[in-house]
């Protein structure tokens, strides 16, 4: 035996299950009673700085089927690259965090947000503008982390330290949203298959 360094183990993840909406988006699920608005439903709470964008997408399973019972959360910097909870100067009219249950009929999720500014990487150099994305659903045992990057940031994307970690460069486009005009970006998340979205262990 050796000394016990008394580090605890993280509680193991369990699937969010098919009824995640009850606890996380009860209003969207049509059962809300005590709460006025679902948490994360509104990211822009006032005159937020920066350009308004809309992110939309589907979560797609390994049979090309649309996952209708997933829940997607995003976390991102404000337009100036400042983060809630880390930077007191962060935009007071922007929460940085959004949550959306996929539509139970169409499977579409969407967020009205602002285009994020650039954040530093661990070495202090700047990352490309990106949105951190987290997906949970029935059948997903542990939440999946990915990132949304922007198609109109080619130079920044080319030098982004996270994108550069992806050895199989042909997979990088799975992280780049598609511009659909008028500030809308489509970001489909493919759980499996040849164009499976890159997911991160971070």
């Amino acid at each position: 035996m050796v000394q016990n360094h008394r580090i605890l183990k993280e509680s193991p993840s369990q699937t969010a299950g098919p009824y995640v909406h009850i606890g996380c988006t009860p209003n969207a699920a049509g059962i809300g009673k005590p709460w006025a608005e679902d948490l994360g439903a509104t990211m822009i709470t006032g005159a937020a700085e920066g350009s308004r964008i809309r992110i939309v997408g589907n979560v797609i399973d390994g049979t090309d089927g649309i996952v209708r019972d997933a829940m997607v959360e995003i976390f991102q910097a404000d337009a100036q690259g400042r983060l809630k909870s880390a930077d007191e100067a962060a935009d007071p009219h922007f929460t940085g965090w959004g949550r959306c249950a996929c539509d139970l009929k169409t499977g579409v999720y969407s967020f009205d947000t602002v285009k994020p500014g650039r954040l530093p990487w661990v070495d202090g150099k700047l990352q490309a503008p990106h949105v951190t994305v987290w997906v949970v659903a029935r059948g997903i045992n542990i939440g999946l982390h990915t990132r949304l990057y922007f198609p109109d940031e080619e130079a920044a994307n080319a030098e982004d330290p996270v994108l550069k970690r992806i050895e199989h460069a042909h997979r990088i486009p799975t992280l780049i949203a598609r511009a659909e005009g008028e500030g809308t970006y489509r970001f489909d998340i493919r759980l499996q298959g040849g164009d499976e979205t890159v997911f991160f262990d971070m």
Partner: protein, 243 residues
């Protein structure tokens, strides 16, 4: 020595269930087939959403009352769930939001996709939320949820459980898990629980009955502590407080 802790410790993926657990059939088409890309946490993962205690209503941590008609109560075995949220260094995670959802005492969820024949309880919604105090402690009141059948294997029943969503202090700590109840034989038959390989990891999700704390003629107490990921620490920070 550096003064800034270099990020969060990497998740132990052997301790968590893997993505693909074929006995839980839905995982077969919803689990990534490629290796996850490893990266250190950086600024964007080491911050997280901020919630104030002001988002909480007075009934949010009382599932027996928060959906009930005035003067009514939810039906079922009354329990208090109490515990502490810490990081893996043993430090309390204070002022963090916990969201919970569950079936009613008969095992039925209030949800459009629910297919179990058990009836709804008109006085039970099945959702609540609570913020930990400064030291990471939390408590909520509810009824013990019933087990329920689910469409997986023909004879699969979920053990009684409460779903937990936790934020911690950063997006790196984000976690959804489930709390099970001491002594439930269904725990060890469940394909979702069984996705976890290590029996010790499973036991860490089983709440202990605490009869000493039981409220006479009111509610039993279950204790459920939760551990979130912790930061790597510089050596001089390495105090083992609370352990």
């Amino acid at each position: 020595m550096t003064t800034k802790p270099p990020g969060y410790k990497t998740r132990d993926r052997q301790w968590h269930p893997p993505g693909l657990t074929p006995a839980y059939k839905t995982s077969v088409t919803r689990s990534p087939t490629r290796a996850l890309i490893s990266m250190p946490t950086s600024a964007g993962e080491e911050a997280g959403p901020v919630f104030g205690h002001d988002i909480l209503g007075p009934m949010d941590n009382d599932l027996i009352l928060n959906w009930a008609a005035p003067g009514e109560m939810a039906m079922g075995p009354r329990i208090l769930v109490r515990g502490r949220v810490t990081d893996d260094n043993g430090r309390g995670v204070g002022n963090t939001l916990i969201e919970v959802w569950q079936a009613n005492a008969g095992g039925r969820y209030r949800h459009a996709n629910e297919g179990y024949r058990a009836p709804l309880d008109p006085n039970f919604g099945g959702y609540g939320r609570v913020m930990t105090d400064a030291e990471g402690y939390y408590e909520f009141r509810t009824v013990q949820p019933g087990p329920y059948p689910w469409p997986n294997g023909m004879m699969d029943w979920r053990p009684s459980h409460i779903h937990f969503s936790l934020f911690g202090h950063s997006f790196a700590q984000r976690l959804i898990t489930q709390m099970y109840f001491e002594g439930d034989p269904l725990i060890w038959m469940c394909p979702i629980v069984g996705g976890i390989d290590d029996a010790e990891a499973i036991k860490s999700l089983v709440a202990a009955l605490d009869m000493a704390e039981t409220l006479p003629m009111d509610a039993r107490v279950y204790r459920f502590d939760i551990v979130l990921r912790g930061r790597r620490q510089t050596f001089f920070e390495n105090r083992w407080e609370g352990l």
